[in-house]
Symmetry: C4
Subunit: 226 residues, 4 copies
């Protein structure tokens, strides 16, 4: 998703990226699951929470190794690599943003299966809504983590947090459940920014798709043809 | 509205779909009316409420029969049919989503009447806003059903529920009337998701239509022509 | 704004419409001013309020006469006329919606002045935002009229009402000032519906215009050219 | 950003504008910083606040001088100049709106560096989100200035004000932090109006960019090619 179209990508880096895309996505899901267990499990099940924490750290290490390998294979200087791969750097620091890399995984999987593809707009919608859902779940977890024991919080259960995430992603914003801590609001601003763009893409593609459906129907001509 | 454009549809299935579209839409309206009476009628008018419930079940049975017939006529395996007709399966389980199939009915009716058609954007707007209104009414009924006797609810009358549905569909989200139960919030999330896409289609088409109107006016040339 | 493009308009009707557009727009503004004075003037200035009411009724009569004349000149049957001019019928019943006819006035004025025109997107933006502002003012007046002495109202001054209208038109919807009466909510729903579409048109055109500006700059070529 | 494309710009004015764009942008940033220090610094650090105020007035004077010079060089009559440069006049009176002129600075800087450019949509997104962020910061400062000691205010710290600005720009509008004074609401309405259009541009460009990415991937052809 970074703008690498301008400079040619070394073939070894390209091969590495193609081979690691799916494993990294799986690692991202493991990270998310581990984080969810860590945040949601009751405090008295110590072992489960410790295992979850271990998973979180292990996958994080994997991401760091991948970033280092890609830096090596790219043949770029450190600063130049960070500048052209800034989204990857952000994703490394905030692994809950992993879903943003989903588009590459999706492409890779599609290529291997060679199945009949969805139409252009359907794919954009599928990608954008999937990313939005994953980001929403990540944000709901993180906000619940920050807020559930803050004084004066209105987000007390994970259900409240999911409800808040839905109302925020769709920009409805009822205001019955709102983050009050700095951490919670920081996550919220991130969700608003990403969510707006992704939801805009869903809406825009749906609109284009609907116009296309109605147009195609016109071209079929008079009733006799159908 | 499912992506059936890729595989050819057997002629008998096509004939069945064309013949049943309007009756099924009428059945959908009967279902909605029955549900509305069931939810809104005061508890002391027993017979009316029983009749309404009977209507709801009868129409639901109709939908199930139609789904079974279409599965048979499609000649597909069970899993394959469910996968390519997933929207129909969802609509079967949640008949309040029936309005989403409206686009097919609309097309069928248009074809029979052979009347001068509206412009492309006007049709998209008409379809999207009609669907949005029907979904809004369904959601208002369902939320009222869930919320009106919940403790601490802010949606107490059907009027509140309609007001809430309007504020949600347009993403204004004042927050003066908000669902508090799990059921109510579940319906709300569905309304937000569908509503956003539909309203985006209305907005986008209106915008394209307005640009078209102003452009056409340009092409008419200097004042002398008009 | 009704879809009269399909059927030919009789020349006498066309002449009438061209001649009355600007006077009717002025009458609409007089109506709005009269209504504003009636609603906002303190109760103890009897004569001013009576004059305002007289203006409101007089302009309303004008609109009715215009509708009748246009019906006559159209040569259509009553039902057919109402069906093809439904927007005009709505505007006749709810004269606060008059701004929606603004596009025709705007066109008529532009044609007479023969001045260098704005670009396509600039005109759409100008039209949509002007209409949105006028509808917002009308809605603020009507809501203030309904709400200012309702029990438990949060809209108590005209300032509150304008603030509410801005938050509603932009779909921000804070919820600190919200209509609570049936009348107020009815107006609010109308404002949301119209506002969404109009604001969507402003946003969409602005976006297209910005893309156009950046594209034109590309075509200017390398720095040496500028 | 004003519509100067219709009339030819005198070469001396053009030269002046090219030479002053970057310095004026820097002056705008100095103005914003000075205003921020003035508003946020505790009342007991007198000298710092006085220096900040001096900076604010000095940069304001610079803007006025620039406007006067440009008026002179344009060779237009006063009224005609104000009419065609109305955005510049607004920006002169409300220097917190300076970021709106950012597009010209951005273009000027791009031209000098001759670096490989971003794609069209990426540039629109970059410009619109940068402008939105700067306007958001300006609005947060101005609202904090108006609200922090108002009776009954819900915006009490600068953090609250930034949180409010984010929720407003994205049209989420929770309503937990809302301006209550006339000044604060005035700023808020301005932010809503500008923010809506800018965010719409970000969303629209992102959507177009995503469709482009998916389309390009189609054109690459079957897996063997990649």
């Amino acid at each position: 998703m970074s703008d690498r179209t301008t400079a040619p990508v070394p073939p070894r880096l390209q091969a590495w990226e193609q081979r690691t895309e799916v494993p990294l996505f799986v690692a991202g899901m493991v990270f998310l699951t581990g984080y969810a267990v860590r945040v949601l499990a009751p405090a008295d099940i110590g072992p489960v929470r410790d295992l979850a924490l271990a998973l979180v750290y292990a996958t994080w290490l994997l991401f760091a190794v991948d970033y280092a390998v890609r830096f090596r294979l790219s043949g770029l200087r450190a600063w130049s690599f960070v500048r052209t791969h800034w989204l990857d750097a952000v994703v490394l620091l905030l692994p809950l943003l992993r879903p943003l890399r989903l588009v590459q995984v999706y492409t890779a999987v599609q290529k291997r299966r060679e199945q009949p593809r969805l139409s252009l707009y359907a794919r954009v919608m599928a990608y954008a809504s999937l990313t939005a859902v994953l980001l929403g779940v990540s944000a709901a977890l993180a906000v619940y983590h920050q807020e559930h024991d803050a004084p004066g919080a209105s987000i007390r259960t994970f259900g409240d947090s999911v409800w808040w995430a839905c109302a925020t992603l769709t920009t409805v914003g009822y205001g019955d459940a709102v983050p009050v801590t700095f951490g919670g609001r920081f996550v919220a601003v991130g969700l608003m920014a990403c969510g707006l763009a992704l939801l805009g893409a869903v809406t825009g593609s749906f609109s284009s798709w609907l116009v296309q459906v109605f147009r195609r129907e016109d071209e079929k001509g008079p009733p006799g043809d159908a």
